[in-house]
């Protein structure tokens, strides 16, 4: 709850060309439009990013000797983003029309490490911070074990730094809509913990299984891992310090026919945390979420794809530590966040998406305090609005996108939401992006 909706509105990773080089397949085999995974892309990820059709340095297992399966091509890729953000009204004392060149540059180590281990590892240069930092990481071991109860069975282990980054669907926060976004425009101050508040600030180890190509079960245990902070962790300067371990869970069911794909699922997380310390009173957060995804391939329209996705997160929190520190007016809170979007893919060249989002929850004049632009005059976390996006792909590894974000309410009100005279619609933003990945 103390997080902002940064993941709702900040850029995410992308299709990674080193996977394409490894598999010999075009981006479109794994993505309807990056980063949205096709069933093939989901299976590629499920199986540990290890599938390859390309030459390897190999040595077969004989007697007591270990085997070797090493990609001949080193799996490196680069992403380059440049963007322009224009809000309806400038933020006080700042210039409107932010041209970021670059907005982000990412390096990926993404591909098979061994026959059963592969990675999605990203390091990103942020132009506002003017530094590289560790970004989304998912290193996994996968085993296509064969059969369990006579059904196909795959299992694996993941090491990752963002709850949900290991997920296979685009309905959950880590890989959900919007797939690109501005880091210059204001965004709502309230968001569930699982919506990215812990991203790149935790280290987790977990396991997952897929049974009979229908049932997916996963669980990961996380600890705080403050990159840039001293070790051992004293918690100072960090708002979230996981006490013990924080469990993340995921269950999903999927089914498909030749032209239809459907997924229903649930995910969640329980976190006990102490702000700025690792001792003393603990805040507690529990997120319960449901999600769905439907993809319809339309043969009559040259196999265009219609995608519909949605997720709802309920967060219950008790914040005695924050309350005792004067950061909240009461200890007990809840937050509801909902998102849904519809996207039409015109082949692999053009896609248009319309999405709605809504955040409601407990009022708290201290937790959601007044502040120019980012605060709330009435202590309400309520925000809602829509995001429209058109992406044109002149080539499968080039994304030229235009996005419009509109707010009906922002941090609790339509007008003068921050107590400084700013209206919700002042934060409406046009975002133009050129993304190259190679």
């Amino acid at each position: 709850m103390i997080s902002s909706l940064l993941t709702l509105l900040t850029p995410k990773a992308f299709a990674v060309p080193s996977y394409s080089r490894q598999t010999g397949l075009p981006c479109a085999s794994c993505h309807y439009a990056p980063p949205e995974l096709t069933p093939f892309g989901r299976t590629f990820k499920l199986e540990g990013y290890t599938f390859t059709t390309k030459a390897e340095v190999t040595d077969d297992k004989k007697d007591h000797n270990a085997p070797l399966h090493l990609l001949e091509a080193f799996p490196l890729s680069i992403l380059f983003d440049t963007s322009l953000t224009v809000t309806k009204s400038p933020q006080p004392a700042t210039e409107n029309g932010n041209f970021e060149f670059p907005q982000d540059v990412s390096l990926f180590l993404a591909g098979a490490w061994t026959s059963h281990v592969g990675s999605f590892t990203q390091v990103t240069y942020d132009s506002q911070g003017d530094h590289f930092s560790w970004d989304n990481t998912d290193i996994r071991y996968a085993n296509k074990a064969g059969q369990l109860f006579g059904k196909p069975f795959t299992f694996g282990i993941t090491l990752n730094n963002n709850p949900g980054v290991e997920d296979l669907w685009n309905s959950t926060p880590a890989w959900g809509y919007p797939f690109v976004g501005s880091n210059a425009a204001p965004s709502p101050s309230a968001g569930a913990l699982i919506n990215g508040a812990l991203a790149q600030d935790v280290a987790g180890v977990g396991g997952y299984t897929m049974l009979n190509d229908h049932w997916y079960l996963a669980g990961t245990m996380y600890r705080s891992e403050h990159i840039g902070g001293a070790q051992p962790n004293a918690g100072t300067g960090f708002g979230l310090n996981i006490r013990g371990v924080a469990p993340y869970w995921r269950a999903a069911w999927q089914t498909s026919t030749k032209n239809n794909y459907l997924e229903f699922g649930s995910y969640g997380m329980h976190v006990k945390s102490t702000p700025n310390s690792v001792v003393g009173l603990m805040d507690s957060y529990t997120d319960f979420a449901g999600d769905f995804q439907y993809d319809r391939t339309i043969p009559q329209f040259k196999n265009d794809v219609l995608s519909i996705r949605g997720t709802y997160v309920r967060e219950n929190s008790t914040l005695p530590a924050t309350f005792a520190a004067g950061g909240a007016a009461q200890a007990s809170h809840h937050l509801n966040t909902a998102q849904a979007n519809v996207e039409y893919h015109f082949g692999t060249r053009l896609s248009g998406t319309a999405g709605l989002f809504d955040i409601t929850g407990t009022r708290d004049p201290l937790l959601f305090a007044p502040a120019a632009v980012s605060g709330s005059a009435n202590g309400s976390p309520q925000s809602n609005g829509y995001i429209l996006n058109v992406s044109w792909w002149p080539e499968q590894n080039v994304d030229l996108a235009v996005q419009y974000t509109g707010y009906f309410r922002f941090n609790g009100a339509q007008t003068n939401y921050d107590g400084a005279g700013r209206d919700a619609s002042a934060n409406n933003a046009v975002y133009v992006l050129a993304r190259f990945v190679f």
């Binding site: 069933p39 093939f40 299976t43 599938f51 059709t53 026959s115 064969g146 196909p152 190509d213 089914t255």
Partner: protein, 110 residues
């Protein structure tokens, strides 16, 4: 009778030597199939998985596939066709031959 059994001994030894070899070839082929083909074509060759359906993977047990000659199947595996990628850079010719034989065996299991 004793002579008959004595004559059987070398035959038995030969069978014991040959059987692991045949089983090994089958095992190798199964491993190659599992590592490279299951993702789209499923363990039983049907392609009846979400991935197989999305990729329009052929049912390897079907007449359409099985009527092709060994050379044609080897050519598809090596050079790719449609959405199927080429495996020629990864698989050696004898691995491709084992795979073709394994695909033939899938039809018998249908």
């Amino acid at each position: 009778m004793r002579e008959f059994f004595l004559r059987l001994i070398p035959v038995g030894i030969l069978c014991c030597l040959a059987l692991p070899s045949a089983a090994q070839a089958q095992s190798d082929a199964a491993k190659i199939y599992k590592a490279n083909c299951v993702l789209c074509h499923s363990a039983d060759g049907s392609g009846d998985s979400a991935t197989g359906k999305a990729m329009h993977a052929k049912d390897l047990r079907s007449e359409e596939v099985q009527k092709q000659s060994d050379a044609e199947l080897a050519d598809v595996i090596t050079k790719g066709r449609g959405k199927m990628p080429a495996f020629g850079a990864k698989l050696k010719p004898d691995d491709v031959a084992k795979l073709v034989a394994y695909i033939r065996s899938l039809a018998n299991k249908k």
